[in-house]
């Protein structure tokens, strides 16, 4: 839902990294971290927590359906997304000390607890439902990224495209698993 903004943040970090990599010649190190507005920083914190929802949902459903390997692969990717969001929070001085990453499935903000509970409850209905929850999460991410591209400069859009490709890859994995399940 709001992942798009986290990804926007990640894009900025990636741009900074790319710029550093581009300036890898001697005495050419430059830092191009873009500054974020207060609203964007607020969103980073919220998104960091929302990243946890997706990761925890995949962890929980992966434990519930241990023979379904798709969760294992994707949850490690979601952890990377969360790490990126955390890195961004740190880069831009956003305090995340109120978020306990270690407690899987526990959220202090009620609406995030509701989101997690809804996704997991639906996923528990059946193995197929669980896979469809994954498909839903990824489709929502892609949709959000499409919208996030609006009003963004071309370099950010390029990074969005890469991130969207990642979500498409996850979507393919879930759809592949759904197809395999239906055979």
């Amino acid at each position: 839902m709001l992942k798009k903004i986290a990804l926007a943040g990640m894009s900025l970090a990636l741009i900074a990294t790319v710029s550093l990599a581009a300036g890898n010649g001697k005495n050419q190190t430059t830092t191009t971290s873009s500054s974020l507005s207060e609203a964007q920083k607020d969103t980073l914190l919220f998104i960091y927590q929302e990243e946890k929802v997706a990761r925890d949902a995949y962890i929980t459903l992966g434990e519930y359906y241990p023979s379904q390997g798709v969760y294992q692969n994707i949850q490690s990717s979601e952890q990377k997304h969360m790490d990126s969001a955390q890195g961004l929070c740190e880069t831009y001085g956003v305090d995340i000390s109120n978020v306990d990453e270690s407690d899987v499935g526990v959220f202090v903000v009620p609406v995030l607890q509701e989101l997690y509970d809804t996704l997991v409850a639906q996923g528990y209905q059946s193995e197929l439902s669980g896979l469809m929850v994954g498909e839903y999460i990824e489709l929502t991410d892609i949709d959000d990224l499409e919208h996030a591209q609006e009003e963004m400069p071309s370099d950010v859009v390029r990074v969005y495209e890469n991130l969207k490709a990642g979500s498409y890859s996850h979507l393919d994995a879930f759809r592949g698993a759904i197809d395999a399940y239906n055979k």
Binding site: M1, D42, V109, L115, Y136
Partner: protein, 149 residues
């Protein structure tokens, strides 16, 4: 001239009283009262628009995951008044069937002049909500979790 001064004074007295009535912890209590009584309008009043939208989207999600036609409508939430009303009705129905939640031990922590975090227990579990000042009224604002100003 004297009348103008009196009117101005009265305005500020009323304003101060209004601020007193809309404390951050009161906003959280109102939020729970609205959720427990499935009062969507009251919920809308006590939240900033972006947080209200998130609330509707999240609470309507369970129906969307079971009903593809509704899922399509939920994606368009905020763009069409009829769809908005249908989504809000779905949320209202879900809230009516949800167990009411009790909150205790509310504690307000300032995050700047215009922001506060409210920590509390919801049915014994530690929770927190953020509030921001919107035209002299404290409103629930999920994204106001950072300390500013």
């Amino acid at each position: 001239m004297r009348l103008a001064v009196l009117v101005t004074l009265l305005f500020y007295v009323l304003l101060a009283q209004g601020s007193e009535l809309s404390r951050p912890d009161e906003a959280v209590k109102t939020y729970y009262k609205a959720m427990n009584s499935a009062d969507i309008e009251a919920l809308k009043e006590i939240m900033v628009p972006s947080s209200f939208k998130i609330t509707m989207e999240v609470w309507a999600l369970s129906k969307a995951l079971k009903d593809k036609s509704f899922a399509k409508k939920l994606k368009r939430y905020g763009t069409d008044k009829e769809i908005d009303l249908e989504v809000q009705e779905a949320v209202r129905t879900k809230l009516l069937h949800a167990s009411p939640k009790e909150i205790t031990d509310l504690r307000v922590i300032a995050l700047g002049k215009s922001r506060c975090m409210v920590r509390y227990k919801e049915d014994g579990k530690q929770k927190q909500l953020f509030t921001s000042l919107d035209k002299q009224v404290w409103k629930i604002d999920y994204k106001a979790g950072r300390k500013i100003d």
